[in-house]
């Protein structure tokens, strides 16, 4: 094969050399040469989305569920700006995504040409890095570098903006060498002195806790395996952020459930009362810490993160270790074993006894009903009926997302795709499409809300075109539920514009797209309806009509500390629990 080719051919060749088999995209004037190059080959499958935001989320879902980089291809101007939300989402959740955008020809840049926008300017703040390739000589290097930057260190989205004349230009292609980037070389191993200090702190701890996050998932399956090994070896309790669910199995002995604003009572109280916190691949987000000045006041904190800027950003820690989660966990395990350390068993037993006491509060409990489907019950049943299968879950954003996190239990990493940092409604359906493309035979379910699903409902058409059997499980309470909940709690139940007026008939909508529609509002019929959803070998929209006014609990009211949670059955307390300062917080 000759290495002399057009820029457009280089793009396709570089994707192939990077091991890319699936890309998500939408054609347009400024990417036509690349689409033509795609037309002439069979190695890369292109999935035509219906909106570029969908392409970005699909690439995220693909990446998050497979551990590979997700790729999208969009045109200039509106193609690029439509992708911005998805790129920002990938930046916030550290998802490796490479986005190739077409650009107007170099001689037209800056002239306000048709479908021109300053793509690198616009995406500078929502990508890990971006490139405008002005000459063919740079193209193959930049493409390979984009994959390197997206996947190494803290992963993130990278944009490569390619003007149309560069796509037509002819140049010499160079393949991916094992590039050592001239400036970007993330540190993988932790500092040995700090590793020693960390294991000594752990051996001396009386009330320790592992607080783990999405970094473990990003690091790869080995990090999850090592985490499990370490947790078993030490017997320390473990909690996780929303993004980290699945790194440690929900059935595991040390599992306390998710922490944070809608985390369990035991997880949050253990975080508040611990004397040693070992944060691994988590970033002390405000949904996790609650009120900062009352966050885990009595503990020493170890923070392991590949991004030095995460350490001491929100919470000052006692021992920061910069490195990849898997590398550092391996180092910690080795140090723990070689020093023949052991946990303080007596203290640990006391600590677990305290945690068990907190557990008796059953913070995820809810009042069941024979008449109306409780949303938590719907997720529970969905879990019970799908847990034995090869299942991947995506979500939209809102109450249903939190109920899914609380009541669907994950045993393995990469099974849970959700928009954590940015909180993007409309993420779940395109993400599910991306997951299904990566795992054609798996069961992929988007747990959705009726408001969120409408934000990218056009992707139903994509699912139909590629015959993707994704299941869209809508917890339909006819409200933007989380907005309604906050209005109830903070604004005296003035439900300003949060009612989902003029909803479509989701069953008919499914029909219109050639999908299968199911509606269920009777708790007694729920299991059969879910089984029907699972058995139908095509796209399904499940309109699960649930209790309209259920609140998502437990909850740390904004501006409050971890030990000031509101538990189920105490909804009324929240109104008075949030003071003026708390109302200012989101």
């Amino acid at each position: 094969m000759t290495n002399l080719m057009t820029g457009a051919e280089m793009v396709v060749r570089a994707l192939r050399d990077q091991g890319v088999e699936t890309i998500f995209g939408y054609p347009g004037g400024a990417v036509l040469p690349i689409y033509d190059a795609l037309f002439h080959q069979k190695h890369i499958k292109h999935v035509l989305v219906r909106h570029e935001q969908g392409a970005a989320h699909a690439a995220e879902g693909f990446a998050r569920s497979s551990g590979k980089a997700g790729v999208l291809l969009v045109t200039s101007g509106p193609g690029a700006t439509n992708a911005v939300t998805g790129l920002t989402d990938a930046l916030m959740d550290s998802i490796p995504v490479v986005c190739i955008t077409g650009q107007v020809p170099t001689h037209l840049i800056g002239s306000d040409a048709f479908q021109e926008c300053d793509t690198v300017g616009i995406t500078r703040h929502c990508t890990k890095h971006n490139y405008l390739v002005r000459q063919i000589e740079d193209l193959s290097r930049v493409l390979h570098e984009a994959f390197y930057v997206a996947q190494n260190g803290r992963p993130g989205p990278v944009v490569v903006d390619i003007p149309k004349d560069v796509q037509f230009a002819i140049g010499t292609y160079t393949g991916p060498r094992n590039i050592e980037h001239k400036t970007y070389r993330p540190k993988l191993d932790g500092d040995p002195d700090r590793i020693e200090k960390a294991v000594l702190l752990m051996a001396a701890a009386r009330r320790p806790i592992f607080y783990t996050g999405g970094g473990i998932i990003n690091s790869g399956p080995e990090a999850s395996r090592l985490l499990r090994e370490f947790a078993t070896l030490t017997g320390f309790p473990l909690t996780s952020t929303l993004m980290g669910l699945g790194a440690y199995p929900a059935s595991g002995k040390n599992w306390l459930g998710m922490l944070g604003m809608h985390g369990t009572y035991e997880a949050n109280n253990a975080m508040h009362g611990c004397d040693l916190m070992i944060a691994i691949g988590a970033r002390f987000d405000d949904r996790i810490t609650g009120r900062l000045d009352a966050f885990s006041p009595g503990s020493k904190k170890i923070h392991i993160d590949i991004d030095p800027s995460s350490i001491n950003k929100n919470v000052k820690v006692d021992l920061g270790i910069v490195g990849d989660c898997a590398h550092v966990l391996r180092q910690l395990l080795d140090a723990w074993r070689s020093r023949q350390l052991a946990p303080d068993k007596m203290a640990l037993a006391k600590w677990w006894a305290q945690i068990d006491k907190w557990r008796t509060r059953r913070s995820l409990a809810f009042k069941g009903s024979d008449e109306v489907i409780k949303p938590q019950y719907a997720v529970q049943r969905l879990y019970e009926l799908t847990k034995a299968r090869d299942t991947y879950i995506t979500t939209e954003v809102g109450q249903h997302q939190m109920w899914a996190a609380q009541h669907y239990h994950f045993e393995a990493p990469n099974r849970w795709m959700t928009s954590g940092g940015l909180g993007t409604m409309g993420y779940g359906l395109p993400a599910a499409i991306g997951v299904q493309m990566a795992h054609p035979d798996a069961l992929v379910i988007d747990i959705a809300g009726e408001a969120s699903i409408l934000m990218n409902i056009q992707e139903l058409s994509t699912a139909a075109q590629y015959r993707l059997p994704v299941k869209i499980f809508i917890l339909n309470n006819e409200y933007m539920g989380m907005v309604r909940q906050w209005q109830e709690l903070l604004h005296d139940s003035r439900y300003s514009h949060s009612y989902s007026e003029a909803l479509p008939d989701f069953v008919k909508l499914a029909d219109a797209y050639g999908a299968h529609g199911i509606r269920c509002s009777d708790p007694a019929k729920l299991d059969d309806a879910i089984m029907e959803m699972l058995e139908v070998p095509k796209t399904v929209i499940f309109d699960c009509v649930v209790d309209k006014t259920e609140n998502c609990l437990p909850m740390i009211p904004s501006g409050k500390a971890h030990n000031e949670m509101i538990l189920p059955g105490h909804d009324a307390e929240i109104e008075t629990a949030i003071d003026a300062a708390g109302k200012m917080l989101v």
Partner: protein, 183 residues
């Protein structure tokens, strides 16, 4: 605000008086399009301060530029600024010269002063004392060129104000560590 009288923990920067420091950062970057926008965008996007900023190519063959930024913030914020800068892909090295504590810092300023008679004499006398050079003169004005530490320039400008200060143009700080090793 209902901040508690005794802080429950030392972790919130919202508690107590913020301890604002001024630091000079020396940032070595690839001289490529957009690199300055990345740096400046980082400061505006994350709400950091820029007191002054200078940038120019310093090694042509290697395509390296040096950006010198004078910024202010709490010690925690300044540490965070350093880490955030290091995350940017085209950045080679970030050095906090203030933290290192052994740097020379200089700024160049042009100061235009207008006046006649005694004011002219006074302006020239002061310029001489500050070792400012006259780089333009007319019958009723001077443009002085002055190089020095920021404080010295500030002081000179204040002295010129009553005499007939017209306008000032300053380069911002350029800085470098002392001794034989690289900044």
């Amino acid at each position: 605000m209902n901040a508690p009288a005794a802080p429950l923990s030392p972790y919130s920067s919202a508690l107590g008086k913020p301890n604002i420091e001024v630091h000079t950062l020396s940032v070595l970057v690839d001289n490529e399009p957009g690199v300055l926008a990345r740096v400046v965008g980082l400061f505006s996007g994350r709400g950091y301060n820029i007191e002054s900023l200078t940038v120019a190519e310093v090694a042509h063959a290697e395509h390296l530029s040096r950006i010198t930024i004078v910024t202010s913030g709490t010690p925690e914020a300044i540490e965070q600024i350093g880490h955030q800068l290091e995350r940017l892909v085209p950045i080679h090295k970030v050095t906090d010269l203030t933290l290192r504590g052994n740097a020379v810092e200089r700024e160049l300023a042009m100061i235009k002063v207008a006046g006649t008679g005694q004011d002219r004499d006074e302006a020239l006398r002061l310029a001489d004392a500050f070792r400012a050079r006259v780089i333009d003169a007319s019958i009723e004005s001077f443009v002085f060129e002055l190089t020095g530490a920021v404080g010295k320039i500030d002081q000179f400008i204040e002295l010129m104000r009553p005499i007939g200060l017209v306008e000032v143009s300053r380069t911002g700080v350029a800085a470098m560590s002392r001794g034989p090793s690289q900044t």
